[in-house]
Symmetry: C2
Subunit: 175 residues, 2 copies
Amino acid sequence: MNFTQLVQQRQSCRSFDSTRGVEEEKLAAILNTARLSPSACNAQPYHFSVCRGETARQVAQTTMTMGKNPFAADVPVMLVISEMPYSERAAAGSKTMGNDYRSMDIGIAAAHIILEATNQGLGSCMLGWFDDQKIRTICNLDGAVRLVIAIGYAKESDPLRPKMRKELTELVSQF
Amino acid sequence: MNFTQLVQQRQSCRSFDSTRGVEEEKLAAILNTARLSPSACNAQPYHFSVCRGETARQVAQTTMTMGKNPFAADVPVMLVISEMPYSERAAAGSKTMGNDYRSMDIGIAAAHIILEATNQGLGSCMLGWFDDQKIRTICNLDGAVRLVIAIGYAKESDPLRPKMRKELTELVSQF
């Protein structure tokens, strides 16, 4: 699968096969790819907590309040991304520029994770709805939780959907 | 080139060949990939300004203050990512969660851009040092500039460098 196909194949999976776990070598490949992500000043201001089994279910519960993400109960692996302190140089740059580089860095790493998951034949879904405090307790984290990524095999019935996106004419200006 | 090789090959290029422009079909491939990026609530809260020639040089000048990024003068294409208003749903979620999803979304799109640039045989470098106000004027933008990505051919003498990263034992907790 070339990169263009990979990007086309990647979609948010909301229908996981609860009977299939994720092979450890596939998780290792995902974490290795996440590790190679670039970040501002190479600060790598994030931490990855890989939650399986009962821990995954506890994390999932915090993403399911107010009727959200009912599929999360079936997800075998929840990858929690929390933030770590900036390097001094990145912190100074962020303050000077009024720019949240740490959240951008977390986005860059998340993109690497979901693309590698797709590359490994896995489904994934980035979840922005969760209980920060509860997950910090579950995963023994000091830094704020910024994103939870559900990872597992999609149900076979989960088809590739067309991607609904703005047109390039709206998204892009040319100079 | 498979995805693992692509991630290994991608590195920040700080030595561009000023004599080679970027083919329009390669820029189109990069923009198409950026367009397919996922974002919170599919809000796509970003705008891409593709700057060539004199406009690229003007943008580059704003990244070179205080002795930074001297290589930027040689870059044929500067891709400016600015933010667009959130969708109401994403804005509400961001406020409730205290989470900067828009910066994460921009990071996700930036990762797609630099990986597609690598896939097209191009060098790229994400620049977080720039003059927001000047670029808004140059590119006629309302939204804040969050990232500038330099794109072009690397000089042939630019070797693949080893990636300096934290060890997995530091980056990852397993549950």
